[in-house]
Amino acid sequence: MKKNEKLGVLNIDESLYKTRISSRFLNRIPYKPVDPHLILSFIPGTVLDILVRPGQPVKKGDDLMILDSMKMQNQLKCNIDGKVKAILVNKGDRVSKGMVLIEIG
């Protein structure tokens, strides 16, 4: 342990411990509940086809988009009943994992 080293504080069961905090812990992504209104890319890939238009009413289970990834054509389905509020990508776009592709209103 270095002298005068600046340490952090970790709360475990309401006791506060002076200790080194790992960068992994500091950089962790806080949990967010899944929002069914947002259709995300579950894998990186290329938008092969968009099957809906903005404003179009959609039902749970409807196909929204074909995402080409790992040599597979993946159908992205709608989670809820609603209307297509916005389409945030274009046909042919390359998308990374976790990107919002379509918003359902």
Partner: protein
């Protein structure tokens, strides 16, 4: 005389092959800061101890014009020798010959030396430096990998297996090191991955350098695939040699015993641990205040630093240490630290090395990421490993031993042979703050001065339960000892455990939660 002529002929043949891939390829290898395969073996083994086999092996591939190509020794050197007098079997892939690619004969050389090591019950060292499968040899090279993985697995727990990554080790090739006991990597030289940056870019559109994807640091700090990190090949070889001194030749033996030496006086066991259980200290200093000559050989130093594992000697005999590290993340148990410790405990158990556990932890790490990463399953590995281990198990509770962490860290209940506690030990279901808030919730809430009452109740709880004596009154702790008595108690316990025998129920194998 005819024999002289024949000897000369042999010498010439040897010389030709000893050059490997030729001067140009050797120059290229050196430019990358790498030694040649043969230089590596010579640097690692005792002087003049190396006996080489299969020097004249050649491939017999015919497709893709391979018949015209000569690949000296088929790109891998095998043999045996000694390290500090201990016998070892060794193979080293030669990157200067067809990029160290693995073809049928290359793999047969490796499996030959692996069979040899298992048969003779001596440690196996593999130096990996290969571009991967020799594509021209097709399914034969896949067969070669499979034959190696199989032998790694059946030799596991019988002979020590050490992997040294001194170049690329990509694709299926990575699974041989992953199946071995210890993996050594060198900064900027080692590269390990299943799919390389090129494939990742093509398939997923993500760009990353080889170093960031699977360099030595990545595997030492993030993935936990590597156990020892070095800056140079030389440092790496020193680490391997040192490791060899701590481990036995096989699972039927004990590690070589050395002369007992007292710890160095600068590690004063009375002055390391602060009274306040929320303040940190470096638990490695406690280890150094206990072991022979204060010499502690740490394993996986850069990974899951909240738990410390490694070898030291007690009275000259190799001992495995597992210790919570209050200096890093308060020493909590989490997914990675449980994995790290559990595997080490199983290593010690397989190779007849007693385990000393130093306990000072606040419990398990809370968090969505931990729960979702499977802390239940991973944490269970620690319980499994300790319960299953039949080598002598000694536990010293230094300060905190709260809740599930108390149980997991080689408690009496998992059949620790000896459990000692310092007077500063707090063996309790949880920390005083949390416990008081739950037990005295009503009193605190209904009080005119909730903060004052809370403080008072915390003090009450500390007084009554934050000590080793409740556990000692049940026999869960065998002795409450002064810190300065620790080495004496441990040495005695180890001495009388020398012939420990445990009968386990008969089974084919258990199902550890991995």
């Amino acid at each position: 005389m005819a024999i002289n002529k024949k000897i000369k002929e042999l010498q010439e043949k040897r010389e030709k092959v000893l050059l490997g891939g030729g001067e140009q390829a050797i120059e290229k290898q050196k430019a990358l800061g790498k030694r040649t395969a043969r230089e590596r073996i010579m640097a690692l083994l005792d002087k003049n101890s190396f006996n080489e086999y299969d020097l004249f092996v050649e491939h017999d591939a015919r497709d893709f014009d391979m018949a015209k190509k000569s690949l000296p020794s088929d790109g891998v050197i095998i043999g045996s020798g000694t390290i500090y007098g201990a016998p070892v079997a060794i193979f080293a892939q030669d990157f200067t010959v067809a990029g160290g690619s693995l073809g049928l004969m290359h793999s047969r050389k490796i499996t030959k030396i692996m069979d040899h090591a298992l048969k003779m019950r001596i440690p196996l060292i593999g130096i990996n430096d290969s571009g991967g499968a020799r594509i021209q040899e097709g399914v034969n090279s896949l067969a070669g990998y499979g034959e190696i993985f199989f032998r790694n697995t059946i030799s596991s727990g019988v002979i020590p297996q050490i992997s040294v990554i001194l170049g690329p080790c990509a694709g299926g090739a990575v699974y041989s090191p992953a199946l071995t006991d210890f993996v050594f990597v060198v900064d900027k030289i080692s590269k390990m991955f299943i799919t390389g940056p090129e494939v990742i870019k093509t398939v997923l559109g993500e760009e990353i350098s080889m170093e960031d994807l699977g360099g030595a640091r990545v595997h030492s700090e993030i993935t936990g695939n590597a156990h020892f990190f070095a800056f140079t090949e030389e440092e790496c070889f020193d680490q391997i040699k040192r490791l060899i001194t701590f481990i036995p030749w096989n699972n039927g033996q004990k590690a070589r015993a050395f002369e007992s030496r007292e710890p160095k006086p600068e590690f004063n066991i009375n002055k390391i641990v602060p009274d306040d259980p929320t303040l940190p200290y470096d638990v490695k200093d406690v280890v150094r205040s206990i072991v022979d000559f204060s010499d502690f050989f740490e394993i996986m130093e850069l990974y899951a630093k909240n738990i410390v594992i490694g070898f030291g000697r007690m009275g000259g005999r190799t001992t495995g240490f597992v210790a919570n590290q209050p200096l890093e993340m308060a020493g909590v148990l989490d997914v990675d630290s449980s994995d790290k410790a559990a595997r080490f405990i199983r290593y010690c158990d397989a190779f007849n090395i007693p385990i000393i556990t130093l306990v000072d932890l606040p419990g398990y790490m809370p968090g969505v990421d931990q729960e979702h990463a499977g802390v239940i399953r991973h944490g269970a590995k620690l319980l499994y490993a300790y319960s299953e281990a039949t080598v002598p198990k000694l536990t010293v509770i230094i300060r905190k031993a709260y809740g599930g962490g108390y149980i997991a860290m080689s408690s009496r209940h998992l059949r620790a042979d000896f459990v000692f506690a310092w007077p500063s030990a707090e063996i309790a279901v949880m920390g005083p703050e949390g416990a008081a808030n739950i037990i005295f919730r009503k009193e605190i809430m209904s009080s005119d001065d909730p903060n004052g009452t809370r403080k008072q109740k915390i003090e009450e709880y500390k007084e009554k339960f934050a000590n080793p004596y409740v556990a000692a009154s049940r026999g869960y702790v065998d002795a409450v000892i002064e810190p300065s008595e620790t080495r004496k108690f441990l040495m005695h316990s180890l001495n009388i455990s020398e012939n420990k025998i445990i009968q386990m129920p008969e089974k084919k194998h258990g199902l550890p939660p991995f």
